[in-house]
Symmetry: C2
Subunit: 506 residues, 2 copies
């Protein structure tokens, strides 16, 4: 029997790309998951240094393949070279951040409550820490073929936590995926880790991915993509005999509010920055500002005119896949057909690609449907008379990854109601900036109330806190020191910050 | 229209108890949830000291009602006075622990990544913390009418996090519930907090509870009880337009392994301790040891004989409700009807109550059905020849709150496989102790892989870590100091431990 194959498509030309990739068979998937399961125990007890070395080696492997990545991803994703060069760096830096987190080790939140034999009843010695869940499935996203894909944040954080990872490669960029997989697998081998700590499956459909989520030896899922895709995985995970968590980052229009004062002070610069934020990477960013609140005023008119002109001067974007382009065209047409909506940009749609679009609607005619995400370089400006009108509209939106306010420093203190609602509706609040460009650090929150993320913003998929998603708690009661994991031993051999009898120390 | 009413039943007599309680109407529920919603913003921004004062006042209010509690709960739950006196103390201590956690404030996990204007592109200033989810629903458990009920750990941790709480009182102990509700509401009023921070609903059925979970202004659910009940709430929460987390602690038989060496060294004392752990509080504890692994040997025979004798000498237990008694009898009969199972205890079942029971089965005839929880004073001893037989049986069990090993210090190093499997299957590992008696502290983990808890042990419902269940993350990007919550301001006015540019400090 010959394996079924598929080919990626160059979105700029519509032509299939060589080589063809074999669709992973169900038997191969079983073998990969079994290897992950068998590797889990040893990987869970690897030292902080071993995991850090592994992640650093993977980062070096990514960088060593930079040219090949850029070539493959330009063909498969239609993204421009500078953007992809930056993404190689971002991906390597992300792996190195998690290497530092793993090396530091304090993320396990080790806690020690000493016992007391004199108390009646005797107080036991109780110690707890976070432990890896076991093998996890990661779904590569289409829009960051490196940084949110095979070697992206989900994979890096799961590996840092000590969980083997089985990636479902995104079918739009199999060659890019394969390069990343090689970098990780080589790093594992170079560090003496079993091959089972990392596996990858290829498929152009959905069956294999669902099988992976349903597999009893898979213990959690990381996903970045469409709302329909994310919800399908959530449903599959909940229908299991043993349900597992799905961390799906799904949908957000990232509302941005501009006050009249802000536009008066800085309108031209804001227009330039906003146009870049709307159309950069073809608008295919989770945090793209797709919904704007702009005052009805001369300054507001000029601002939108400037933004529209910038967008009209922007070359048409090649979108990631034909499916995304189609959904973009359908979504844009639906918005344009909504009562009260007019189009401010003039650019004609190219044959194969997306011309950035700016639409406008009076706030009185705003409907929640206009806050449905249209993935791509489109934004809807909602025109308001008074800021007090904006607050209830924001409060009625679905959960968002981000919410942005452009205001002068002087007016900030008077906007506490608006800021409160932004905080209720979003995971990250941005002041006088643009939501695109998600900084990878310790404080970043890339998550938000449902449906921005499936877990309602209780976790983040970017930044060092992402590591805790793939862990659970375990306590040890009255164990002798030598039978405890090193993180809980009296001598604190890894030098962790720990909560000892309620006091933070190391 | 007169309100529908219900009465609790004294489980010791089967007689209804005065007074009758009005079933909360759907309109009253709406009013309570609206009050919780309206109180949420102010409560979320209350200071650590305000929340601590509130929780300490609630603790004092609980203690001030100690006699009334004991009287009400003895009648409604059939538990003995010393146990209930202890529970009053446990409940007050739990509230005080969360008062300390709230006062300390470091639980918000504040993180600050300073910006860098010199970097290209400019690095933003990003700061994050945990914020309360908003109003949460808490379901009182029947088996701890105080400590896991109206003023129990779920309520205390949610209030400490700054979430208003609406409790669904357990219908088996409405008078006890009302006393606790009064203590909390008085404390709120005394601290100048709005009444909406705490509400309670009464119902002898399930409709109102499901309505509460489905209410769009409820943002999370805490539950301790049966597997069927927990799974029903999980399903209701997932079917919402905006799904919310349900923290349900549901089911566990808490496997305990006894080695031949441990029995040889200490069999008589272990038998005494085990019998108390099996039958204390009528065996109606989440961590009751319902599944034992005992060697086939003279010492093993003697040990089980001793345990059975202790259980036979234990007075019959009044169970919490007629429903629980019925389920106990049905479950015990099902186990006894399983091939290979014999009964080691001799005591006859009393007319109204449960005589503790010890059953035994050869490991070759063990089936997973014998690990289904029978809530009450019953335990199944699985007789093994070699410890190597026990490991795969443990590995095949469903997730557990606890797993216990009784072994000598000398043999511990040779039991790493067994300990590994215990760790995979349970949230808390106990060495040479009994799993009952869940210490309330910072390191306690009361949670475990599904179905022990619905979230697979990623959180705990006992101990200070429980607070994070009712929170999500929020980040602020490039906000001036005065517009940040105090927890993230440069001056650190609350003196929190924070992660600043990756370094733990305060």
């Amino acid at each position: 029997m010959t394996a079924r194959t598929f080919q990626a498509t160059n979105p700029a030309t519509g032509q299939p790309l060589a080589p063809a990739f074999d669709v992973t068979t169900p038997q191969e998937l079983e073998t990969l998951v079994a290897a992950a399961r068998d590797a889990a125990r040893g990987f869970a007890s690897s030292t902080p240094t071993q995991r850090a070395d592994f992640l650093n080696a993977a980062a070096a492997g990514i960088e060593a393949r930079a040219d090949a990545f850029v070539e493959a991803a330009m063909a498969e994703a239609g993204l421009p070279e500078p953007r992809l060069r930056g993404e190689v760096g971002r991906t390597a830096n992300q792996l190195r951040l998690f290497a530092r987190v793993a090396a530091d080790g304090s993320w396990v939140d080790a806690r020690i409550d000493h016992g007391d034999l004199a108390r009646k009843p005797v107080k036991p010695d109780v110690r707890s820490l976070r432990v890896p869940l076991g093998p996890v499935a990661v779904f590569g996203a289409s829009n960051f073929p490196l940084a949110f894909s095979v070697a992206g944040g989900d994979t890096a954080s799961a590996l840092a936590a000590g969980c083997p990872v089985v990636v479902k490669a995104h079918p739009a960029h199999p060659a890019t995926s394969k390069l990343a997989a090689q970098a990780i697998s080589e790093a594992a081998a170079g560090c003496g880790l079993p091959a089972g700590v990392f596996g990858i499956v290829y498929e152009d459909g959905y069956e294999l991915g669902v099988k992976l989520v349903q597999h009893p030896d898979i213990h959690a899922v990381g996903f970045t993509g469409s709302r329909a895709g994310g919800l399908a995985l959530v449903a599959a995970a909940q229908a299991r005999e043993v349900p597992i968590p799905v961390y799906a980052e799904m949908s957000s229009v990232n509302p941005s509010v501009f006050t009249a004062e802000a536009l008066a002070a800085n309108g031209a610069a804001l227009a330039k920055g906003l146009a870049a934020s709307i159309s950069g990477s073809g608008g295919q960013l989770c945090t793209q500002p797709g919904l704007l609140f702009v005052p009805v005023s001369k300054a507001g008119d000029q601002f939108l005119k400037d933004v529209a002109a910038k967008l009209d001067a922007t070359p048409a974007c090649t979108l990631l896949t034909g499916g995304i382009l189609n959904a973009y065209q359908v979504g844009a047409a639906r918005h344009l057909g909504t009562a009260g909506v007019e189009r401010l940009t003039q650019g004609l749609e190219p044959e194969r690609g997306a011309q950035p679009q700016l639409l406008s609607v009076p706030i009185a005619q705003f409907t929640p449907k206009l806050a449905d995400e249209v993935f791509g370089p489109l934004s809807v400006a909602v025109r308001y008379d008074r800021l007090a009108e904006v607050t209830p509209v924001l409060a009625g939106l679905e959960g968002q990854l981000t919410a942005t306010l452009h205001a002068t420093d002087a007016e900030l203190d008077g906007l506490s109601d608006l800021l409160h609602v932004m905080g209720v509706r979003a995971g990250r609040l941005v002041l006088n900036g643009f939501p695109t460009g998600v900084e990878v650090g310790h404080a970043m929150v890339h998550g938000g109330p449902f449906p921005a993320t499936s877990d309602g913003g209780r976790s983040t998929s970017v930044g060092s806190l992402a590591i805790t998603r793939f862990t659970r708690l375990r306590a040890y009661q009255d164990f002798p020191d030598r039978a405890l994991p090193p993180e809980l031993q009296d001598a604190n051999p890894h030098g962790l910050w720990r909560l000892v009898d309620g006091e933070q120390m190391r």
